[in-house]
């Protein structure tokens, strides 16, 4: 995080705000709810309180303007610059302006007003931009589901650096960017996708492209806003050019950026007994899908669309050396790569044995 140079801050903690000019794209009631929720994000992490007033001079004035609006920082029409805000202080200090020529929404379509407003209010309170891509104060817009949004740890640290700890008896904590080269790094799920490999972790995934040196970290919600965080298993069915993602008893089918209609569905469709309510890992190989649950696995025949008889079997009985619950698995060149904790095991399906054991984060160029 970065505190604004000169450390401007409000001397009082019971701040007032006033909406001077509304957008024509959302009802006043919706705007007021969004603005109040955006302030609440900061109130939860600090000792600050925010009260809406409709008359008189507020600490933080909020308005939607087009183009040049007299503050020496003209807006630029749709996209580009979405909004700006001023550091704490008298007059224009603390004020937040939004570009009326953007499309303002309350869902995943560009641009979600809650996310932009919460970011701008960080400036109104004395924060500058953060270099942490996960942080709310990162300058680039990235969609995250508002209904489940919690302030990232970087922003909590920032606001508390200015105003001290939260007045909540239990100090709030928030998500942090996963550190690719943390030797303890584990993955939630892994799937190939048209030659790439996707490594899922919490609300993010790393994208490894065979011809790109860098491994790219993204929010899951950036590509698939309707998907939940914490994907537990994933596999690619190259014959159908679909990726299947699992969380709990639900699963989704992705075709590139699109979630196939009619999803999520229940995993009982695969023929699992009702006792199975979640999948640890999954991988597709030669017309069959292998599902790993605790110390057992199932084989699903994609042609016949039913489970093979005689399953589940014990994992170690078929894959000697894979003795624990599997976090994630994917297939490459007739080798199953099993990820268990911070280690992966390359199981050669032809030699029928483990041929390599390495740190999981080697796949992230660590």
């Amino acid at each position: 995080f970065m505190v604004t140079p000169g450390n401007p801050r409000w001397k009082h903690t019971n701040l007032t705000y006033r909406i001077l000019k509304y957008t024509t794209q959302l009802s006043h009631a919706k705007v007021e709810t969004v603005i109040s929720t955006a302030f609440q994000i900061w109130a939860n992490a600090s000792s600050l309180t925010f009260t809406k007033i409709s008359q008189g001079e507020a600490d933080i004035n909020i308005a939607f303007y087009e183009g040049d609006h007299g503050d020496n920082s003209p807006f630029d029409g749709p996209n580009g610059i979405l909004a700006h805000a001023f550091q704490p202080g008298p007059g224009i200090g603390g004020d937040a302006h939004f570009d009326e020529q953007e499309t303002w929404t309350t869902n995943f379509e560009n641009y979600n007003l809650f996310l932009v407003a919460a970011h701008e209010f960080g400036h109104s309170l004395g924060l500058s931009h953060s270099t942490d891509p996960v942080a709310l104060m990162y300058p680039i817009y990235a969609f995250r589901e508002p209904s489940t949004y919690t302030l990232p740890q970087d922003d909590i640290n920032g606001i508390q650096a200015i105003y001290g700890p939260s007045s909540n008896p239990v100090q709030p904590t928030g998500p942090s960017t996963p550190t690719a080269c943390d030797p303890r790094l584990t993955f939630d799920a892994i799937a190939t996708l048209r030659g790439e490999i996707l490594f899922f972790k919490d609300r993010y995934f790393w994208r490894r492209h065979p011809r790109m040196p860098e491994v790219e970290l993204n929010f899951i919600s950036l590509f698939w806003p309707a998907l939940p965080d914490g994907i537990q298993a994933a596999y690619e069915d190259p014959d159908k050019d679909l990726v299947f993602l699992f969380k709990g008893s639900q699963y989704w089918a992705l075709s590139g950026y699109d979630i196939e209609p009619g999803y999520p569905k229940d995993i009982s469709n695969y023929g699992f007994p009702s006792s199975v309510r979640a999948i640890d890992a999954a991988v597709y190989y030669r017309g069959e899908t292998f599902f790993f649950v605790n110390d057992q696995f199932w084989r699903y025949d994609n042609q016949r669309q039913s489970m093979q008889t005689g399953y589940p079997k014990n994992i170690a009985s078929i894959f000697p050396g894979i003795e624990s619950r599997v976090d994630a698995v994917f297939q490459q060149n007739h080798v199953f790569l099993f990820f268990i904790g911070p280690t992966y095991y390359a199981f050669d399906l032809s030699a029928h044995r483990i041929t390599r054991v390495q740190r999981s984060n080697r796949w992230l160029n660590c």
Binding site: S73, F75, I81, H129, P133, P139, Y141
Partner: protein, 81 residues
């Protein structure tokens, strides 16, 4: 009047100059293609922007840098002022 046609290089120059002036305090009017005196300032500002976003600090408007410049964002400068 004939529409003023901008070569791709000029368009890139425009994008880079606007971005660095707005978000990295590049002095206005400093960066016009072909002029040498302002180039080192621009290279420094480009590197500062690339460092902020964790990009390769080439000092050049390469594709990943231009892609980042085109993303929708907040209008407040990145070095805080």
């Amino acid at each position: 009047f004939p529409v003023r046609w901008e070569s791709p290089e000029e368009e890139t120059t425009q994008v880079v100059r606007n971005y660095l002036e707005r978000f990295y305090q590049l002095p206005r009017g400093r960066y016009r293609s072909g002029r040498s005196n302002g180039t080192s300032v621009v290279v420094d500002k480009l590197r500062e922007m690339q460092r902020f976003f964790g990009l390769n600090e080439t000092g050049k408007p390469d594709e990943e840098t231009l892609e980042m410049m085109r993303k929708p964002r907040c209008g407040v400068p990145d070095n805080g002022d």
